[in-house]
Amino acid sequence: MAGHGLLPDNEYRRLVELIEREPTTVEETIFSIMWSEHCSYKSSKNILKILPTSASNVVIGPGEDAGVVHFTGEGDDSWCIVIAHESHNHPSQVLPIEGSATGIGGIVRDVYCMGAKVVAVMDPLRFGDPDGEKRYRTRYIANGVVKGIADYGNSIGVPNLGGDVYFHQGYDDNCLVNVVAVGVVRRNSITRSAVPHKAKERPYKFILVGKATDDTGFGGAAFASEILNEEETDKGAVQVHDPFLKRVLTVATFKVLEEAHKSGITIGFKDLGAGGIACATSELASKGGFGADIHLERVPVSIEGLKPEVIACAETQERYALVVPDEFVNRVLEIYNVEYELGKVYPGAQATVIGEPRMDGLYRVHYNGEIVCSVPAKTITEGIFYERKRKERKQSAFISGRRIQIEEAFKKVISNLDVCDREPIFSHYDSTVQGNTILPPGFSEAGVIKPIDDKETCLAMAVDGNPRWGLIDTFWAGAGAVYEAVRNVVCAGGIPICITDCLNFGSPEDPVVFNDFHRAVEGIAYACNTIGRLDSPGEPLPVVSGNVSFYNENAEGEPVPPSPIIACLGKIDSIDDIVMSKIRNEDTELIFIYDPENIERIGGSVYQSIIASTGGEIPHFDGEYVRRMINLIIELGRKGHINVCKDISDGGLITALFEMIYDVRVDGGALGIEIDIGCLPHNDETVLFSEAGGFIVGSVGERINKIKNLTEEAGVTFSHIGRAVASDQFIVRRNGTVLVELNINELNELYRQPLREVFEWQAG
């Protein structure tokens, strides 16, 4: 092995070629991080080029810490949404509380450092089987992850507006913890993660602020880019979180940004994530077209005797790097160190000047008079590239399973862990802090907030990604995740403005996995191109940020279920256009809107897993038809024709109907359902349990005819299937013959209990 063994031989040789000498330890460490899959996207970046990333509303696309899209207002009063989406899978598997907490911590930093106020987080989670062979570990992880997200998110004062959770034994050894953070910023206040151009004319300094550097998270990026081996797991590679310090840092940083903006001072600002000080400062320098001199002996440390490569590259949490002009330096130090007394708030925390930009592009790190790194900044950030092999996956055979009674199947479906009530998770999260929340989780298909005080415009958000689909067909799983996230946003009345993706797969060195990955990206691109932007026809729905997480495997080397996970944001022009998913009134008439071609595909459904069937086709969406449906739903909402709207997904139509009345109390008791599916020309199981998407809308009286006319004009199906009634019965008939007749209270219990049992395990 060449050098210190931090890089594979081929990459080490490449580095020697590039810098024309043997690297120092610090250099080798920096390159091992910057060339990790996590930082360099070396396997994926060519494939990701397929994704549509530009549209007229995109202000900053993928490539910076977070994506930025225009949201509302014009000119000086133009506001943007900032969104970042990442995974923190391996750390959460090893240390669930710390791993998930630092996941939230890292993602909010990505949004803060664009100068934005973080207004929401969401968390798609994938855990192992809580009743399987590794149930104890799985439950420990699931409870720890939820606690970590709650501890951190609740403390920093950012509402948790959504997420989803699936359980599958394929995640037993490798859970997935994805995190999404959303912020708002005035367009003219966006901060860039680059040394400002003005540094050519006048002197600037690098300021490091936050927790004193220690050795935590050293090698974290490389850790994220390897397969987990629990016995050898280096827990030191997991960072340690501190939401309390983060909150104080955030408040103080806002003051810095505000004063800079008011005085017309341009600064550079970047969070310290993978690779710590060295990576953040070299990226700031490189992006601005500069180099830098960084002095490690000036970095405040909380442990003596740290080696220079550790000071340079440890991933100590709660730190930022700023690049500010000399005349602003003292004021910045004063805000952090005097006004907010960082040192008193947290031992060793402070803001310190650690270096300055260089004009010649050279990135130089000094330590006690010695030069320990001297490489052009561009060379560090350029990364490397790999061409990976691809191989088609063998399709698993179709097994038809055994038919069971519809009532029986319904009960099993709503008590399935992928379907049942999510309240035992989301009630641990603060979803109303900041006072901007309109619909927290549980009341709508998407979380909805009004994020800007003097603007009526509301923001809807949702995440999706179905692992049962990923196991069968990654193209349609990718496309399906986009469609479902979009449908959720549309249900709430939101016009989709962008998506982000987090692509969680096994090893890219495995040609089958890599092909799965490639197909998923193609599916996402297909969906974005076919849906397009409803408010700007002809443009694709842009992908503005994202992340690839490879090497998610179990101990036997089998990859996790391919998991393309999508977050979608939507804009709602007025509070009056918001639509809930809960029925509030008895005698609400129910209309089913769906794609009759697609409904027959029940591969990957919960129903299929319940009847022990496997294989088959997952839904293949006709993009054009989906676009017509979502346009229609938006129109119905805006015109006030519907007062409730629900998306069909896990558990199918029957589950969606039940969820619309679950936990709704009207005067006189529970709300019931009476439908007749006689008008739907498919077999009973297909109608009730297919997860091929679609909507149920609710309305009353004269408006039903208006809905019928608009639906026909749009060229989609209109099926008036029944109504909500004041009763405690859930009744499904076909042409008068009863298929299901069950008591609501019994169903409520079946739906309420399963997750409670998984999440009550960690008492106190």
């Binding site: 006004e339 641990h428 802090v433 006072g435 929340t437 409670r756």
Partner: protein
Amino acid sequence: MAGRVAVIQFPGTNCEMETLRAVKHVGLEGDIVRWNEPEHKLRSYDGFIIPGGFAHQDRVRAGVIAAKDPVMAVLTEEAEKGKPIVGICNGCQVLTESGLIPGLEPGRVEMAMARNRMENRWGFYHRFVYIRRMPETPDCAISVSIGDNDIIALPIAHSEGRFATTDEKLLKAIEERQLPCFIYTDRKGNTAVKFPDNPNGAMFNLASLSNRAGNVVGIMPHPERAIFRWNLAPIDTKTPNIHSGYNIFKSLKQYIEKVS
């Protein structure tokens, strides 16, 4: 001139922005004031709010470090002059740990904000709840414009919100309705409730408690998060008499006008 309210910001506070917004929304003036700002600045305000969050990280126990902060000595003196001090959520915990509420013997900690006691669950709990005044109790700084039959819907978000005491004098004072307070109810205002309508197991279903004078008030639910009607979208607001947190802040304004 409108009354001026200081919203106190400790390290770890996280509801200061929306609290200040609520203050201004009802027509009061206000500022966010850092814990370490000069004493004379603090004393210039007509009323004070300690907002929610995790002051000083809730180290040792929720609110206890903040209760020992020099800023609280100043607030105690201002309270003695009759100025209102409202503690919301973490602020309620701080006031309890300071001995300001219930304050039967000022300075003595007579009550605890204990860990939530809930069915089938642990830890932090977020939920919408309904509260109303305990009938026949005196007015306090946040209840002067609220009637006995008004129901207020608000979110709660805490791990330690259970009013608890074994202090005989305090139990008797509450029982005899000497202290202004709000209690958890169901959405129709019925007071005999259990979990989850009483979300944390608080004694007497207490959601809020004041000192005898009514100028120092602790409240666990978050009125500042439900100032606007749209904040109550998840609540079925067709039920008559259901109000938002606006009325709480409106009361504070009225109270300040009366006192100053």
